[in-house]
Each structure stands twice: as structure tokens, then as C-alpha cells.
């Protein structure tokens, strides 16, 4: 037993987090910044944070993740990091020639109280920022919220670059939230099918799922051009996907540039995708494209074909709030029973939403925001489940408790596919179902006695 010391009995812990279901803000900011075209993320703090964030993103994407650091030593920690950041900005523009530097803080520079806007002003005055290049920054103290908060803060910093419009460009801003590069592609595809002109940021497609062709480009072709981010103030409206990831940025655009916004759930599963498509339809003022309805029909068809395998199966799931809300809703929609749900990101609102979504599940439902995987494991020991869904770290519980396991969320360190096959939209829903069926039926094939081992299901 890999987690042999996890007791079945749940005792309340006030100070100790064991096996966290979250990580710290800067990694989210780094991921978001990679969705700007020609952008080098920069971590303002000691180099260890940056090394860790790059390593984890690299392991998740199996792609080069470039990001610079202010490389604080003790001196910078005492006297402030201004000198380091000024030097860094100069070196970065000279050596790597990015279009944009997106700086995020770390718990170190936050604790010292370094003032990013003031340092940027100085850098501009000292001509360390070449003409036409952009430096932006987001505060991302790691002792507040989680990696999701950091993502949101960086996207908000992008929105803050938007200029107030004199003339609207008729586009719709889509803020997709922390989804995979392929999910961002899928969102673009759906919008195109609906004939909605969009301006999406951040957009990591083409950045973090690049080809292998003997060339290395620190700045691949993908990403949202900084001009598009600035012109998001010209849009006719904003669709923000996910309260935790995207709402702050959308509201910034609203208050700063009077771009009205609506915050939707992330389009995972049937109903959340329905709401997204419906919103696009209203924006476009047309009826839903037939191909889109057909994709929806395929998803519904698959649910009906395989319903017997989903029906009343118990599921434990952990991950980030926006993703979980839609996915739990989807599980309930196919008559599965999500009964243990944990996110590491704090937020009472999350617990309320999940309670609401699962109110008809015929079991007691455990949900905790700012919970950890140790607690989730204890819940599973007390009330076993048929399926576990979560990031790579779930594999230890899955092995110990012998539970079919699907990797979904962040980070996935030991598998491929998440960067190529979307799980948003109807097609994403179909892929999710395929994965669920795959592990459940593999399990039956493995465990059934020989006489019950059948060719057809």
C-alpha cells in the first residue's frame, strides 16, 4: 500500500495539509501568460519557484516552457527586487527579444512588497523596454487562493490592457479559462461553426502543442496577439467561461471599457455546453448550426447507448472549481453519482453550487473547497466508489483502493493526450464518456469470472 498510513477515521485537521489538491498562484499566471503571442513569462522572486513552475508545466505538456526569473538572493530579499527586475527586463529584451514580458510575483516578492507598476515605470523611463514592446504584471501571492487564482489574476492583468473603445468591432471576447490548448482550439471551432467572430484570450493553442520538425522557436506562432488583447475593449460583449478563472477579467473589461459580460460555466459536458452554444446563438442572432446540433445528438446518443454502465455508479472527483462544477453536473446528467468532491481552491460558493447540482443524488454527498486528497482518500475508504477522476496524483489512491481511474485536470505528469484531445464541447463530452466506459469495462473484463467474460456488452 503506497498510502498505507492514511487512516479510515477522519479527524479534523486545522493546520496540516496532506496531499494538496491545489498548488500556488504563479504557475497559473505562467500558463496564462504563455497564451499571449510572443510572450515570455517572468517570475519575480527567487529562481526556485520559476524552476518548479516550468518543470511542472513541462511535465504536463511535454513541451518547452520558457520563463525567466529575477533570481533573488538574500540581498534582493532584504533590499527589494527592483534592481533584479530592471536588470532582468533589460537582459530579456536583449537576449530573447520577446514582444511581451508578463511578470508575476511570488510569495517572496509579495512579502517584501515590491511594487510592479512602479518598477515598470522606471524600466520604461530608463529605456529598458524597447519601443512597441509590452510589459505587464500581475500580483500572485502564493498564500492566497491557488494556482487558479494566479491564472485569473494574470488574465485580469491582460484585460487591464484593453483600451476604451470609441467604435465597437462587432467581435465577442471569449475568456476560456484554464483549459487545455486543444480545448481552446475546440472553442474557436465551435464559435466559427456558429459564425460568431471572436477574440479569445489567453490562447495557448499552437504554443503548447507544437510540432516536432527540427526547429525550436522560443515563441511559436500561437497565442493571442497583444493587439487583440488591447482591442478587447472594442468588443460588443464578453463571454467569461468559469467564475474562478475568468470572471475577474471579464468584469475588468466591463468596468473599464463598458464591455458587457456574462459569466458562464466552462463548457464541459452536456448542459454546460448547451448553455455556451445557446449564448453564442443569441449573440450571433441566428439559429444553431446544424452540425453543432448533430454533434450534440451524437453525445446524447452515446449516453443512451451506454446508460447501463453509468447508472448509479459512484464517483470521487477532485480538481479545480470551474472544471469540477461542469463535470459534476455532467456526471449527474448521465445518472452517475458523484459523491466525494474536493477542490484545493477555497470558496464557499463552490460547495453551494455542488450541493445544488447533486441534490438529487441518492447518496450522501461529501464536498469540500480547500480540502486535500488525504481527506478525499479517507472519504473513499469509508464509502468506496466505482470511479476516480482527477490529476495524476490520484493514481496512488486508485492503486491502493483498486479503483478505475481517469486522469483529467492539472497536472497530468504521466500520460499524453490531454493536450491534443479536447474535453470541452459535445465532442469533448463524447471523449470523456469514452474514457469512462474504457476504464469501467476494462475493469469488468478483468474482474468477471471466466464464464462471464463476454465478447459483447
Amino acid at each position: 500500500m503506497l498510502l498505507r498510513h492514511t487512516p479510515k477515521e477522519v479527524t479534523e485537521r486545522k493546520a496540516l495539509t496532506i496531499n494538496p489538491a491545489k498548488t500556488c498562484q504563479p504557475i497559473g499566471a505562467m500558463y496564462a501568460a504563455l497564451g499571449i503571442k510572443g510572450c515570455l513569462p517572468h517570475s519575480h522572486g527567487s529562481q526556485g519557484c520559476c524552476a518548479y513552475h516550468r518543470s511542472t508545466l513541462t511535465r504536463h505538456y511535454k513541451e518547452p516552457i520558457s520563463a525567466a526569473t529575477s533570481s533573488f538572493t538574500e540581498g534582493a530579499s532584504v533590499f527589494g527586487g527592483q534592481a533584479n527586475l530592471l536588470q532582468a527586463i533589460n537582459n530579456i529584451f536583449t537576449v530573447y527579444e520577446p514582444e511581451v514580458i508578463a511578470v508575476h510575483t511570488t510569495c517572496l516578492s509579495e512579502t517584501i512588497g515590491d511594487d510592479l507598476p512602479q518598477i515598470f515605470d522606471k524600466a520604461i523611463k530608463e529605456k529598458k523596454v524597447p519601443e512597441g514592446k509590452t510589459v505587464l504584471g500581475a500580483p500572485t501571492p502564493s498564500y492566497v487562493g491557488s494556482h487558479v487564482t494566479g491564472f485569473s489574476n494574470m488574465v485580469k492583468a491582460m484585460a487591464a490592457l484593453a483600451r476604451k473603445s470609441e467604435n465597437r468591432n462587432g467581435k465577442v471576447n471569449i475568456i476560456p479559462g484554464w483549459v487545455e490548448p486543444c480545448d481552446m482550439e475546440e472553442i474557436k471551432r465551435l464559435a466559427a461553426m456558429m459564425d460568431v467572430k471572436i477574440n479569445m484570450f489567453p490562447d495557448t493553442s499552437g504554443v503548447l502543442n507544437g510540432p516536432l520538425n527540427g526547429e525550436y522557436h522560443m515563441f511559436p506562432d500561437g497565442g493571442t496577439p497583444i493587439e487583440d488583447i488591447k482591442s478587447s475593449g472594442d468588443a460588443s460583449g464578453t463571454l467569461a467561461l468559469g467564475e474562478w478563472c475568468s470572471a475577474d477579467a471579464a468584469r475588468t473589461l466591463d468596468s473599464k471599457c463598458k464591455v458587457p459580460c456574462s459569466v458562464l460555466d466552462m463548457p464541459f459536458g452536456l448542459q454546460a455546453t448547451d448553455r455556451f452554444i445557446d449564448a453564442l446563438r443569441k449573440i450571433a442572432g441566428t439559429s444553431v448550426a446544424e452540425e453543432v446540433s448533430a454533434e450534440r445528438g451524437q453525445l446524447v446518443d452515446m449516453i443512451s447507448d451506454m446508460h447501463q454502465y453509468f447508472y448509479h455508479k459512484k464517483v470521487a472527483i477532485f480538481g479545480d472549481p470551474d472544471q469540477l462544477i461542469s463535470m459534476v453536473e455532467f456526471l449527474v446528467a448521465i445518472d452517475m453519482c458523484p459523491i466525494h468532491i474536493v477542490t484545493g481552491t477555497p470558496g464557499k460558493k463552490f460547495e453551494r453550487r455542488i450541493k445544488e447540482i447533486t441534490k438529487d443524488v441518492p447518496y450522501e454527498v461529501n464536498v469540500k473547497a480547500a480540502g486535500d486528497m488525504f481527506l478525499l482518500h479517507q472519504w473513499i475508504k469509508n464509502e468506496p466508489v466505482d470511479l476516480l477522476i482527477g490529476n495524476t496524483y490520484g493514481k496512488y489512491m486508485a492503486r491502493d483502493e483498486d479503483i478505475p481511474f481517469i486522469r483529467w485536470g492539472f497536472p497530468i505528469l504521466d500520460r499524453q493526450g490531454h493536450q491534443y484531445f479536447p474535453t470541452v464541447g459535445y465532442k469533448g463530452g463524447i471523449r470523456m464518456l469514452e474514457k469512462i466506459l474504457g476504464v469501467l469495462l476494462d475493469r469488468m473484463d478483468r474482474d468477471n469470472p471466466e464464464e462471464k467474460f463476454e465478447l459483447v456488452y
Binding site: M1, L2, L3, H5, T11, A15, L16, T17, I18, N19, P20, K22, T23, C24, P26, H42, G45, Q47, G48, C49, A51, Y52, S55, T56, T58, R59, P64, I65, S66, A68, T69, S70, T73, E74, G75, A76, N84, Q87, A88, N90, N91, I92, T94, V95, Y96, C107, L108, T111, P141, S142, Y143, V144, L212, N213, G214, E215, Y216, H217, Y393, L413
Partner: protein
């Protein structure tokens, strides 16, 4: 990348120039001292600048002090609860990411390696101080796991707000009575790299653990293995070989090790140092305090392994052991040789670059040379000058501000536990016969003339080096892996070994030969260009037109 494209003739001075040309002048001046064109001769080794600050804004391969302390040294221990005091990130990222293996088999043995623990500091802890939370977290860890020991690690903000983690540790240790609690001031900003963290970790292990065991070890040939972290099971293979030879490994620092192993390390008769960088000072302290002499060993490479075993045999100078060692080498070598011969035709003449750690970039050159592969360029992320130039430079090393804040502990002979393992005459005789104690020559003398030795290589230089010299394989860490591979060059991680290992010892050598063979012969590197990209001109029409 075909052979034809290779830079057959290259001048190291040009290469160095090319690496530096894009930097702002100040940066170029600094980097120039860390990039060395090797001209080591019989008696002189050129000087390199190392263990200096990373340049802000330059994309470094380095990590931090905390990574060296918790990640490298304490991470691989199995029955000590490692509790990180700080915001959640630091603990999360060091969670199972180094591929340290642990075989605490059987349910009675504690194994906390798969757990990640943190005080997950919040805003209010930063403002009002985190000592209370730490205290409670230690209590909760104790109540939940009842471990023999709890180790506390400080991360960046903890040092800034001034939490006294050592006082909290002392208090809890006294309170529990049956659980050793100690702390590490390994905030990420201390020092210039992971190296400071190794030092901090080792000092505390030496202070709080070594010598604390009541149990007497009575085995015949007792050694400690220092600087071996059981990545991908290296430690298992070394232990297998030692056991087969009849040598008892009292304690590995720190792969797959337990509390009791550390606690009885003072009972060994010889310390064998693998990774010089991460632990050489512990070997010195073990000698001063307990009288255990030390030697440098290297179990990376079959020949190196045999050589190291013979060195251990010579030290104990017991014919029975010497014979047994020869017998083991004779038994193990044929299968190693067989695989080596199999891969040789495909690997001979190929070239490698290694930029890892503080010893690995040196050790792994043995394996490559066994395969007929030449190392064109190498360097370390966090070594000091002695790792490059040899231990004789240690007295001349400048102690700068960044090293000064890393605690040096003073040790002297332990009044009860010190005992010389060999008499003066025996030591003299050994040395006279060519035996070298406390000796490490470093990387530079071992590398060919005109190869490039580069300290703290960064992403920009790595990419340039690869473009210019087109090695057949590049070795570094996960952050470097995919930018190198995008250039069409296979990249092997030598910190965590990708998914492979063990690479130490005899079986490890076999694994490594096969792994490198796979990497340099993989067909995938020939698919870089699509057919239409190789011949873009349309010179004929398709048949059915």
C-alpha cells in the same frame, strides 16, 4: 539531422564567441568567466568561475536552496515525515517528482515518501506569523502518523517574516519525547543554487541524527554511501553489488534511507562519496568526529564500479574480501561486456553533451566512453570550483556573501564515539601504495583538450551549442528536454532519468547502454521533414493525370 550537416571542424574560441555575442556587455563579461575552453595539463588545471549568482532574466537551469534541501537530500528518506512550512507550492512541486524509489516493503515499515505535507500558509499567517500554525501542524502530523522523526523545511516567506522554526521544533521534540523533530532554514533565496540546500540539509542530519543509535552494528566490512539518492533505483543496484561482495552498507545518504540508518552512520569503517558536490563536507565531518576515513567512488559505469569496489577492497585489505570482489566483478562483467559490444557499432564515434547536477556531468562520461562516445561539452548547474578543478582548490575558494550565510558547523572528535579505523602506519602504507583518501580530481582534468566546460549553462547557450555542434545526445533536466528535442537532438534527463534506471553498477550500465542505443538510433529523428518539405519543387505530375 544527417551526419553531413555536422560541424566537422570547429574552433572552441569561435563557439565561445558565438555563445556570448548576443549578451549585454556586463552579462557577457560575467559569462565569459564561466565558459572555459579546456586546456588541462598534467599538473595544471585552468580556473573556472562557479557557484556565483544567476543573472536575473537569464533562463537558468538552476533551482533553489529549498529544492536542494528538501528535494534532493531529505526527499528520498522513507520513514521521516517531511513537513514543509510555507505556502502550498513548494511542497507540491517536490512531491514525488525526483523518482527516488523506496522499498519500505511490508506493512510494519513506515514509508511517508508518497505523502506531501505542508502548513499551506495563508495571508493571515504571513501577517501575524506562522509559528502557531506550524506547531499545530507538527502536532497533527504526529497524531496522524506517529513517526520516529519530523523534519521541518522553511520556504521563502518564512525567513522573511522571521518564524523561529528551530524553536518550534525543539519545543515539539521535548513535548513528544519519542519523536525527533528538527528544522531546516532552507529558504529558497539563500545561496545561489540548490547547493546551499544540500549543505543546510547535511548539517542538520549530521547534528540531529548521526550517532543517535543505541544499536551496535557488528558486520564485518561496514561502509557509508554518501551522495547517492536512489533515482530510478540506482541505490538498489549498488546495494545488491555490495551485498554480493559481503560489504555492509550502514547508511546511504540519502536514497531509500531510514532514520535508523542515519543514526548509526557513525559506526561505519569507511565513507564512500558518490556525489562529491552534495555531500563532501559530511564525509569530512564523519572523519573528524568519529574517525571514519573517506574515499571518492563512482558507481556510474561498469569499469568505474569495478574500480570503486577494488578501492574498497584495498582499504579493508582483507584477502577474503579482495577475492570475493574479484569474483563478483568476474561474474558480472561478461553480461555487461556482451551488451556493450552489441551497442558499440552503433554508438562509437557519437558525441554527447552533459549539463547536470554537481557530479553527474562527470560520472556519466565514464558510461559514454565505455560506449565509444565522446563528450564535447559539459558542466554543472550548481557545482563549486572544487567539483571542476579538484579538491586542492578548496582552501583558496573565496567565501562571498552568498556562501557566508550558509551555516558551517564546527566538529571535533567525539569524546566517546571517536575511534581511529586504521592506525597511522596502516594509513601511511595505504597511501604509499597509491591509495587516495579524500581525493577528488574534478571534471576538468578528465575532459579532452579543447572541449567546452560551462558552468550554469542556460537555455540560450544550450540551444546555440546544440545548433553549432550538433551532438548526438544532450543530457540535462526536464526543463531543457523539449527545447533540445525540438531541434531534432535526443535528450536524456540525467537528474531523474526520464522513465529509466537504474544506471549505476553493472546492471545499470547495461540499462544505460541500451537506453542510449535506443535514443541515438531511434528512427523518429529521421522524420523531422515531411517528404514534400525535403523536395518542395514540383518536378513531375502524379501518375494518373
Amino acid at each position: 539531422m544527417g551526419k553531413a550537416q555536422k560541424a566537422v571542424q570547429w574552433d572552441p574560441t569561435d563557439i565561445k564567441q558565438k555563445l556570448l555575442e548576443k549578451y549585454p556587455p556586463k552579462v557577457a563579461r560575467k559569462r565569459a568567466k564561466q565558459i572555459l575552453i579546456n586546456e588541462a595539463q598534467e599538473n595544471t588545471t585552468p580556473e573556472i568561475t562557479a557557484n556565483v549568482r544567476t543573472i536575473p532574466g537569464i533562463i537558468t537551469m538552476r533551482g533553489c536552496t529549498y529544492a536542494g534541501c528538501k528535494g534532493v537530500i531529505m526527499g528520498p528518506t522513507s520513514d521521516i515525515v517531511n513537513l514543509v512550512h510555507g505556502p502550498i507550492g513548494c511542497s507540491f512541486y517536490a512531491w514525488l517528482t525526483r523518482r527516488n524509489q523506496s522499498d519500505a516493503s511490508g506493512h510494519e515499515n513506515a514509508n511517508f515518501i508518497n505523502y506531501c505535507m505542508s502548513t499551506d500558509m495563508q495571508d493571515s499567517d504571513i501577517i501575524f506569523g506562522g509559528e502557531k500554525k506550524l506547531e499545530l501542524a507538527i502536532q497533527e502530523a504526529y497524531d496522524t502518523f506517529h513517526p520516529k522523526a519530523i523534519a521541518i523545511f522553511a520556504t521563502c516567506p518564512v525567513g522573511l517574516i522571521g518564524d523561529d522554526i528551530h524553536a518550534v521544533a525543539r519545543k515539539m521534540k521535548e513535548k513528544f519525547g519519542d519523536c525527533n523533530v528538527f528544522a531546516f532554514s532552507c529558504e529558497g533565496y539563500k545561496g545561489v543554487s540548490q547547493s546551499a540546500g544540500h549543505h543546510i540539509a547535511n548539517n542538520q542530519v549530521f547534528t540531529h541524527l548521526v550517532g543517535k543509535s543505541e544499536q551496535e552494528k557488528t558486520d564485518k566490512y561496514k561502509i557509508n554511501l554518501l551522495g547517492e539518492y536512489n533515482i530510478g533505483g540506482d541505490g538498489f543496484e549498488i546495494d545488491r553489488i555490495l551485498k554480493k561482495c559481503g560489504i555492509t552498507n550502514i547508511a546511504t545518504f540519502s536514497g531509500n534511507s531510514t532514520y535508523d540508518q542515519f543514526a548509526s552512520a557513525n559506526q561505519a569503517d569507511l565513507s564512500c562519496v558518490m556525489c562529491h558536490r552534495s555531500i563532501n563536507y559530511v564525509a569530512d565531518m564523519l572523519e573528524t568526529k568519529y574517525g571514519i576515513p573517506w574515499i571518492k567512488v563512482n558507481f556510474i559505469g561498469a569499469e568505474a564500479t569495478a574500480k570503486s569496489l577494488r578501492k574498497i577492497g584495498a582499504y579493508f585489505a582483507d584477502q577474503e574480501l579482495v577475492d570475493k570482489i574479484e569474483e563478483v566483478i568476474a561474474e558480472e562483467m561478461p553480461s555487461v561486456k556482451a551488451i556493450c559490444e552489441d551497442v558499440l557499432p552503433r554508438t562509437t564515434g557519437k558525441t554527447a553533451m552533459l549539463f547536470v547536477g554537481g557530479s553527474r556531468a562527470h560520472h556519466y562520461q565514464e558510461l559514454f566512453s565505455e560506449m565509444g562516445m565522446k563528450t564535447l561539452s559539459a558542466g554543472y548547474e550548481f557545482a563549486h570550483r572544487d567539483d571542476y578543478e579538484g579538491r586542492e582548490v578548496i582552501p583558496n575558494l573565496k567565501v562571498d556573501a552568498d556562501s557566508r550565510n550558509i551555516e558551517e558547523i564546527e566538529v571535533s572528535a567525539d569524546p566517546e564515539l571517536f575511534k581511529p579505523r586504521k592506525s597511522e602506519e596502516e594509513l601511511k602504507a595505504l597511501e604509499k601504495s597509491g591509495f587516495e583518501f579524500k581525493e577528488y580530481e574534478g571534471l576538468i582534468p578528465d575532459m579532452d583538450k579543447d572541449t567546452l566546460i560551462i558552468d550554469d549553462l542556460n537555455q540560450y547557450e544550450a540551444e546555440k551549442l546544440v545548433e553549432l555542434l550538433k551532438p548526438d545526445i544532450f543530457c540535462a533536466g526536464i526543463k531543457e528536454k523539449f527545447s533540445i528535442q525540438k531541434l531534432g537532438i535526443p535528450m536524456k534527463q540525467l537528474h531523474s532519468y526520464d522513465s529509466g534506471g537504474p544506471y549505476a553498477g553493472f546492471k545499470g550500465a547495461i540499462n544505460f547502454y541500451q537506453e542510449i542505443d535506443r535514443l541515438v538510433t531511434s528512427k523518429v529523428w529521421s522524420y523531422m521533414k515531411a517528404p514534400w518539405e525535403e523536395n518542395p519543387e514540383l518536378s513531375a505530375t502524379y501518375v494518373w493525370e
